[in-house]
Symmetry: C2
Subunit: 121 residues, 2 copies
């Protein structure tokens, strides 16, 4: 297990869209209580990814996993996340940093979608 | 129940990112077998949202539900979807069209994220 998780969302000008990631991080901390969980946004909101990675390091993390909170990663997202990881490793040569794939097509995603259709009728 | 569902994703230059929506639509059709399910992309891929809405109408739909396959909707996404709905209603005054909220913070989303962390260790 890495000793820090950095959850990434795209970031929005709408505060309510950004608030989701704060709530996701709080749920993850409850579920993974021995794990440092920080958040960052790719753009349009703070903290940025370099700021989020610094927060992990300041709290003693040496092995960070970047977790994209995206359904899928388009070209722009994937390139930006790989660049952020490479920049971090250059700045902190003693640390490790892994970039996870996006959430993708988990079977539970269909259950969420069907719930959403039914709630909303 | 509306008689057509139009699933919307952002659209990407990466075909594998767009393929997710095709798979989600196939799963939904299996689960909701009496329901017409079509897909469309906000940008960068086809069919576009007007094309997707037309496909629904051509197959006899009179009541369409637009389902954003987004975790949350930023300002640009929300405005574009509302605009697409308004344009459709102007073109087809006899039809109804409802825009659902994005997937949002469903409790199962945390399970998907934890599975993703564990699969990937």
């Amino acid at each position: 297990m890495p000793n820090a998780l950095l959850l990434i969302a795209h970031g929005s000008r709408r505060p309510e869209a950004n608030a989701d990631l704060v709530a996701v991080a709080a749920s993850l901390r409850r579920r993974l209580s021995d794990q440092l969980v920080e958040i960052a946004y790719l753009e349009l909101a703070a903290p940025t990814i370099p700021e989020g990675l610094n927060r992990c390091v300041e709290q003693g993390a040496t092995d960070i996993r970047i977790l994209p909170y995206f359904l899928s990663a388009g070209a722009h997202v994937q390139e930006d996340l790989e660049q952020a990881r490479a920049d971090f490793l250059r700045r902190y040569p003693g640390k490790t940093c892994h970039l996870s794939p996006p959430l993708g097509l988990h079977p539970l995603m269909i259950e969420i979608l069907i719930d959403r259709i039914q709630e909303d009728l």
